[in-house]
């Protein structure tokens, strides 16, 4: 049986079927959390981004225009939440640096013990490589690799031209390959 499309679920919700929202939540909450964790790390509040994203979606669904782009719209909301947190983190670092103080909690992107236990060595190397990427590459690569979004969807999510998205993803993939190369001692 073919799954009901996101836009049909939005229409059902607007027609009073609250359960349609539950289906949208079930469909995307792991993706939103996973993206936020990649962007912010375990200690950066990915669970808050999960909560804030779906709250915003529930409050803003009336403004969404069904054009088959629900996932891009949803992930854009999640991304904006992540960027706000990254910005706040940068400001905190600047303030602390100006006052010659150390952050009380390092903004580590390393996976927590639970996640680390689930990963094999190669995956851990890859996660470390992703964590070390600049924000723009990291978000594009996360959407490409983990969410398996198309270049077009990612371009819509990041509000960027498709060629920029391709470049960001290729740079990200290349960085991961370089990391594997250095780990294997195969530098030429």
């Amino acid at each position: 049986m073919e799954a009901v499309s996101d836009d049909d679920l939005v229409r059902l919700y607007r027609n009073g079927e609250a359960a349609a929202f539950d289906t949208l939540f079930d469909r995307y909450h792991v993706g939103v959390y996973s993206f936020a964790r990649t962007m912010l790390g375990d200690s950066g509040g990915p669970e808050d981004v999960l909560q804030e994203t779906f709250l915003t979606v529930a409050q803003s669904l009336a403004k969404y225009t069904p054009q088959g782009k629900f996932r891009s719209w949803l992930m854009r909301i999640a991304r904006n939440r992540c960027l706000a947190r990254l910005e706040a983190r940068r400001i905190t670092k600047l303030v602390l640096a100006a006052g010659n103080m150390e952050p009380s909690e390092p903004a580590s992107l390393a996976p927590g013990p639970q996640q680390a236990a689930q990963d094999d060595e190669q995956v851990q190397i890859i996660r470390a490589a992703i964590d070390a990427l600049p924000d723009r590459q990291r978000e594009a690569l996360a959407l490409y690799a983990f969410e398996q979004m198309t270049y077009q969807e990612i371009a819509e999510t990041l509000a960027a031209p498709i060629n920029t998205v391709k470049t960001l993803i290729r740079r990200g993939r290349s960085a991961v390959a370089r990391k594997l190369e250095s780990q294997r001692g195969e530098r030429t």
Partner: protein, 155 residues
Amino acid sequence: MSCDVEYEELAAFADADLDPARLAEIRRHLSSCQACRRRLELLKSADAGLAAAKKAHPPVEAVLAARRVVEQVIRPVREAEIMTLEETAEFLRITPEQLGEMIEALPAFELAGQVRVRRQRLIEWIQQRERDFTRQANESWVARARVVSPGKGVA
């Protein structure tokens, strides 16, 4: 051996997203450059590794917390929902046959020859039944207490 093919271009090559002349050029180059062949292999390993790096699942408490917050927004929609008798039976955790036996007591309405129940009215009806049940249970307990200790009574 040095060459001018960078990882980024090899990634575009792997996607076959270069103009045909450059694609052919790199293909020729790969046949003679072991370093680039190794880089292409590493790139494929990276792609395979990215595909294998599973999504991070949220802790159960985070999912429940998000659901609770969202529920505050969608509750009015949920409560205004109109249910069929099958959905009503499922909601009440009884069989449709059991529901059929008490259909006259239900806060239902008829629409186009079909019986429907508004969730909000059903919730109010359940709350009323809870109050009735508690009151009856108390009365029955008071009555029993009087039988057991007729002289003392219960205030």
